[in-house]
Amino acid sequence: LRTHSLLSLFLQAKMSRPVQARRLEGIDKNIWVEFVKLAATYSTVNLGQGFPDFPPPDFLKEAFVKALSGENHMLHQYTRAFGHPPLVKILAQFFGKLLARDLDPMTNVMVTVGAYQALFCCFQAFVDEGDEVIIIEPFFDCYELMVKMAGGTPVFVPLRPKAPKDGKLMSSADWQLDPAELASKFSKRTKAIVLNSPNNPLGKVFSRGELELIADLCVKHDVLCISDEVYEWLVYDGKEHIRIASLQGMWDRTVIIGSAGKTFSATGWKVGWTVGPNRLLQHLRTVHQNSVYHCATVAQEAVAQGFQREFERYGKPDSYFVQLSKELQQKRDWLVQSLDAVGMKPIVPEGTYFLVADISEFKSDVPDVPNTDEPYDTRFAKWMVKNKGLAAIPLSAFYCGAHKNNYNHFIRFCFAKEEATLKAANDILQKWKLEKISP
C-alpha cells in the first residue's frame, strides 16, 4: 500500500509538470503562422511573406527533372549526409573564388535544409546556456527564437535611422549602428553576433566601414560571427556585397550562410549551406548528423547544376544572378514609385527583395487603440489585408518584445513579384489614396 501511494505521489508530480520541454518556453508564438493565414484568407495581392511569385529559371527546373527521371535512379536515395558531392564541390569552387581562398568541399562546406536549418545548427553548436548573442534590429525573427531555444540570451542593438538629405527618399543606408552603442553590447559572455547583410527587412547592404567596425569588435572580444548572406546576389545600384569573412581576422571565426531558395528563386526546395573553417563546421556537422542527418538528394543535384552554369557565366550579362538583380532593381523602383505617389514613404533598399515603408500618413484609417498590447503597425497590417486585400508584414515583427513599439509605423513589402502583381498593388494603393482625398 505504501509503495502504491508513493508511486501515485510521483505520478502526480510528473503529471503536474508540463509535458513539453522547457526549451520551448517563449518560442511557441510565430508571426508567420498568423500572417500567412491572414494573407491566404483575405489578400488579393500578397506582398507579405518573402517568396517570389515567379518561377525558378528554366535551366534549374530542367536540371531537377533530369535528376529525378534520369538513368541514375540512385538520386532518389540518400546522398552524402554533409552535402551531395557535386554540390559541395561547386560551392567550394564558387565561394573559394569569391573569398580568394582554397576551400575543401568536404570540410569547409555543409549543406542544410534551407538557410533556416543552417542557422539552427549554428546556434545549437555554439550557444550554451548563459551565452549572449548580439542581434542587430530589425532582424529576421527566427534569430531571437533560436538563441532562446539554445538557452542563450539575445542582446539587441538597433539600426537607427538618420534623416535623409533634403528632398531625397530615405535609403536603407541611412539606417546605421552607433559604434559606441554597438561596442557597449560586447561582454565577457558574448559568444556570437548575427550579421544579416543584405538585411531583411530593411534591405541594408552593410558597407566595408560598417563591417570593419563589427569585425574589429569580434576580434577584440573573440566573438564568432554568424553571417546570414542569403540575399547576397540581390544588390542594387552597383553596390557591392562584401563578405565579412574576407576581412582581416574573420575567416577563422565566421560561418557564412547561403540559400538556394533566394539565389535561384526556389524557396520551396529548401536547400541551404554553410561555409567556414573546419574547426567551426565540424561542430555544425555534429548537430546536423544528430538532427536531420541527410538533405534531399534530387534538389541538391539540380542546385549543383545551377551553380555550375553560374560559375561559367560569373559576372557576364547572361548570368542569372546578374539578370535577376537587374529585374528586381526595376521592380524595386516600381514599388518605390507606387508607394511614394500615394504618400507611403518608402525606405529605398540597397538590396534584398524587401522594402519598408512609413505608413504614418495613412494612420487616420486605423485609429490608435488605447491600452493594447498589439503594436500599431501590426493592427495596421491586419486592417490593410482585411480591408484593402493588400498583404504586408509589420516592422515590429522584426523587433524583440521590448522594442516592438520603437518603430511601429512601418510595414514591409516583398517585391519579388510578377509585373501584374505589382501593378495590382499599385491599383489598390491609388484607389486607397483617392478614397482618402475624396471620401
Binding site: 509535458v19 520541454a21 511557441d28 510565430n30 535512379h73 540518400y78 534551407g114 536531420v292
Partner: protein, 420 residues
C-alpha cells in the same frame, strides 16, 4: 595568434562520431558489394517519379508551403492512417511532416524530453536514438532484446524482452520509451501481447511512447504490424513516426511524419518552426499524389505497400539461403529489410588487429577489404554494457536488386576458398 576560445556546446559533447560516417566512407568503393547502409538500390515505382516531375512543373510548388506539412500531403496521410488506425486524424493538428523519420525523432525528442528525464531504449537500437536523447540532456536507459531459444531455429521472433526486467527500468523519471517495430536491425515485429506489456507500463508510469514504425508496410507472411497507438489508453501518449523513404523506396526524399494527439503534436510543431520551418514543397506534393494512388487500392494486392513487401520477402529468403550455404546462421526477420547473422562461427581470428574496436567492427572492416562485401557491425546499435553480447553479429541489408544479391552470392559461395 589571435585568441580563440570557441569549442562545441555541452549538448553535443561526445556526439561527434557516427557509425555511418565511418562505414559509408569505407564502402563507397564501387567494387564492394554494399549490403551495409539501409538504402535500396532498386528503383522507386515509376509513378512516384512521375508525380515529382509533375509537381516541379507547377510554379507555386517550387516556393514555400505550409510549415507543418503541405496541405495535400497531410490530407493524404490523415486518410491513409485513419483507415489503418480506425480513428479520426486531423490533418492540421495531429500530423507534422518532417525531414525524414530522423527529423520526426529529433522533433519529438526536442519537444518532449529534457534534463532530468530518462528514456528507455530497447537494444539493439537504430543508432541515432541514444545521441538524440543525450543531446536533449536526458539519460538513456537500455534494455536488451534477448535471444530466448537454445534450438536451431533463428527467427526475429525469438528475440524478446524480459517483462520483469522491462518493468524494472521504469521509474518516476521515465519520460518516454522508444519502440521500433518492425525492428531495425533484428527485423522483429512486436506481437500484440508484447505491445500490451509495454503499453501497460506506459499507462502505469505516465510514460510517453515514441513509436518508430518506418518499416510498417514491410511485414512478411504470418505477421501483422500492430500500431501501439491503437491499444487502449495509448493514443493520447504516443507519437507514431513514419517514413516516405521506406514506404516508397525513396530514402533520398527525406520526408517523414509524426502522428499523434494534438496536445503532443503541437509541441513538435513548435520545434519544427524553430529548426527548419518547412519541408520541400515539390517532394511533399509528389508524395501526396503517390499516397492517393495507393490509398485508392488499399484493398488490392497490387497496392505498393503490399507488393513491395512481397518482393522483399523473396529477397529475404534468398539472402537467408545464401548465408546458410556459407555455413552461417542468420536470424530470419519477420519484417524490415535487414538480417542479422552471428559470424563468430566462422572463427575469423582478428586478435592481431590491435584496435580497441569491438569484434564485429573489426570483422566488417576485414570483410570489406578481403571479401569485398560490406555490412554493418551490430555493436553500433547498442549501449556500452551490451557491446560484448552483440559484437558477434553483423547486419545485412537485402533491399537490393538481383544483380547485387548475385554478386553477394558469388562472394559467399567462395568464402572458404583461399585466394589464388
Amino acid at each position: 595568434t589571435m585568441a580563440f576560445r570557441h569549442k562545441n556546446t555541452r549538448r553535443i559533447e561526445g556526439l561527434d562520431s557516427n557509425v555511418w560516417v565511418e562505414f559509408t566512407k569505407v564502402a563507397a568503393d564501387p567494387s564492394i558489394v554494399n549490403l551495409g547502409q539501409g538504402l535500396p538500390d532498386i528503383s522507386p515505382p515509376s509513378y512516384v517519379k512521375e508525380e515529382l516531375a509533375k509537381a516541379a512543373a507547377v510554379d507555386r510548388l517550387n516556393q514555400y508551403t505550409r510549415g507543418f506539412g503541405h496541405p495535400s500531403l497531410v490530407k493524404a496521410l490523415s486518410q491513409v492512417y485513419e483507415r489503418v488506425c480506425g480513428r479520426k486524424i486531423d490533418p492540421l493538428t495531429d500530423i507534422l511532416v518532417t525531414v525524414g523519420a530522423y527529423g520526426s525523432l529529433f522533433s519529438t525528442i526536442q519537444a518532449l524530453i529534457e534534463e532530468g528525464d530518462e528514456v528507455i531504449i530497447i537494444e539493439p537500437f537504430y543508432d541515432c536514438y541514444e545521441p538524440m536523447v543525450k543531446m536533449a540532456g536526458a539519460k538513456p536507459v537500455f534494455i536488451p532484446l534477448r535471444y530466448k531459444n537454445d534450438g536451431n531455429s533463428a527467427s526475429s521472433a525469438d528475440w524478446v524482452l524480459d517483462p520483469v526486467e522491462l518493468a524494472d527500468k521504469f521509474n518516476s523519471k521515465t519520460k518516454a520509451i522508444i519502440l521500433n517495430t518492425p525492428h531495425n536491425p533484428i527485423g522483429k515485429v512486436f506481437t500484440r501481447e508484447e505491445l500490451q506489456v509495454i503499453a501497460d507500463l506506459c499507462i502505469k508510469h505516465e510514460t510517453l511512447c515514441i513509436s518508430d514504425e518506418v518499416y510498417e508496410w514491410l511485414v512478411y507472411k504470418g505477421n501483422k504490424h500492430i500500431k501501439i497507438a491503437t491499444l487502449p489508453g495509448m493514443w493520447e501518449r504516443t507519437i507514431t513516426i513514419g517514413s516516405a523513404g521506406k514506404t516508397y523506396s525513396v530514402t533520398g526524399w527525406k520526408l517523414g511524419w509524426s502522428i499523434g494527439p494534438q496536445n503532443l503534436i503541437k509541441h513538435l510543431q513548435v520545434v519544427h518552426q524553430n529548426t527548419l520551418y518547412t519541408c520541400p514543397t515539390p517532394l511533399q506534393e509528389a508524395l501526396a499524389q503517390a499516397f492517393w494512388i495507393d490509398y485508392k487500392r488499399m484493398d488490392d494486392p497490387g497496392c505498393y505497400f503490399y507488393s513491395l513487401s512481397r518482393e522483399l520477402e523473396s529477397k529475404r529468403d534468398r539472402m537467408a539461403q545464401l548465408l546458410q550455404e556459407a555455413g552461417l546462421k542468420p536470424v530470419i526477420p519477420d519484417g524490415g529489410y535487414f538480417m542479422i547473422v552471428d559470424v563468430s562461427t566462422l572463427n575469423v581470428d582478428l586478435s592481431d588487429v590491435d584496435e580497441k574496436q569491438p569484434y564485429d567492427y573489426k570483422f566488417v572492416k576485414w570483410m570489406i577489404t578481403s571479401k569485398k562485401l560490406s555490412a554493418i557491425p551490430l555493436s553500433a546499435f547498442c549501449g556500452p554494457e551490451t557491446k560484448r553480447q552483440f559484437e558477434k553479429y553483423i547486419r545485412f541489408c537485402f533491399i537490393k536488386k538481383d544483380s547485387t544479391l548475385d554478386a553477394a552470392e558469388v562472394i559467399l559461395k567462395n568464402w572458404n576458398k583461399q585466394p589464388a
